[in-house]
Symmetry: C2
Subunit: 220 residues, 2 copies
DNA sequence: TGTAATCTTTACCAATCGGTCAAAAATAAT
DNA sequence: ATTATTTTTGACCGATTGGTAAAGATTACA
């Protein structure tokens, strides 16, 4: 039995090191070119390793990608899991937005890997989306709905609220090239995310305020 | 000189037909797999055409992709161009959001093509982003800033406001698979976009209201 | 109808793709 | 030091890639 096949703990120091180097290089490549657009040679070269050597640790291209996606999905939903019904609704939502924005800032490759996967029809994670993801979102949407019923938040569709949080935060990772091109080079990287945090706080919490008076202008 | 090389009007009926078929098929394929992940054979088959026949109309894979991207960029920025300083600020922003959402609904392939291009580093449209796009956005951001100075809109960073509109609307095209997976199959396609329009109106215009009283809760 | 231009196909090419294999090199255990 | 094991390598495979050459089929036009 080859080394990598053993899921039974027995990992050499070299194994752990090289697996990490491969996954890191693969994250670079996959997040930039998508699954089909990436080649094993590219990943191997980026990892400073020969192709057969890489294939000694991961038997197929799918195996590398699958491992990355698996680890990603674990970490990706953590911020939403942390949303606590017992907490203050406004602070819970605010914290969720901030955590997601931090993840876009600190793990842009992971965000792009996920975006690539979804864009390309999510053939490899369809089950997760319709299963654990949907379940988690439905659960949290119920909590948000109760918050709204208790007048702690302005009423709106909680599912679409979650979508909008995903969209606005991940935008800073997925469309980073465009954001930087439009803002120009005068803004440092950190400054962009500070501005984004400030803006998102404005956008969501001048809309999500508990007090009821709406500013709608067309009574129609 | 081959037929397709002549940019000088002389297009046969067959040329126009086949070019359209090819571009339509290529839009399907490119928007789903990105540039590197798409193959000429795939596009040819999807267009019901042999590969050499396709290459008679477009000499390279890049040529097809370039033509698509070019036509896309034309249409893509129209809604923003239509934003009129002379109009009512709230209605102008509201209309822009609605137009962008309609484009996400009616041209999801184009949205995904663009997203793929940006995700993969925008190597083929970097110039457009830093040139015409940045110029247009800067121009409209100035208008929005003046609206805010005139107290017609709540004050915020206009660039990030535009980003958030892009992010929230295009999300419904680019992440459609995820949206459908989370919402489940009980919602028809049209209904999703109606809900989205309603929600986005809530999100932006309970925050972008002209009247100044903010609902911030942490006075710090 | 004849003919020139346009359109389509078959056969093919070199390069690259994901992946295999056996043997060599490095490492660890005794 | 010897052996057993793990790691690395170069040479190679069939399939697919983007693209070409040239001949055949079709069309437009006189």
């Amino acid at each position: 039995m080859t080394a990598r096949a053993s899921r039974t703990q027995r990992r050499t120091r070299i194994q752990l090191e090289n697996e990490q180097r491969i996954l890191d290089a693969a994250l670079d490549v996959f997040s930039l070119h998508g699954f089909r657009g990436s080649t094993i040679d590219q990943i191997a070269e980026s990892a400073g390793m020969s192709k057969p050597n890489l294939l000694y640790y991961f038997r197929t291209k799918e195996a590398i990608h699958g491992e990355l996606i698996g680890r990603l999905m674990e970490k990706w939903l953590d911020p939403l899991r942390e949303m606590d019904e017992a907490g203050d609704p406004v602070q819970e939502i605010r914290r969720y937005i901030l955590r997601k924005l931090e993840m876009a800032r600190d793990y842009p490759r992971e965000s792009r890997l996920f975006a690539n996967e979804i864009l390309q029809g999510a053939p490899r994670i369809e089950g997760v989306l319709k299963g654990p993801l949907k379940q988690l979102v439905d659960e949290k949407a119920e909590i948000i709905k109760r918050w709204m019923a208790d007048e702690k938040l302005a009423k709106c569709d909680p599912h679409h609220l979650i979508f909008s949080i995903w969209a606005t935060t991940q935008h800073y990772a997925d469309f980073d090239v465009q954001v930087r091109a439009v803002l120009g080079t005068h803004k440092s990287g950190a400054g962009r995310f500070d501005d984004a945090a400030r803006f998102l706080d404005f956008l969501f919490f001048d809309g999500l305020r508990p007090t009821g008076q709406s500013g709608k202008s067309s009574p129609s």
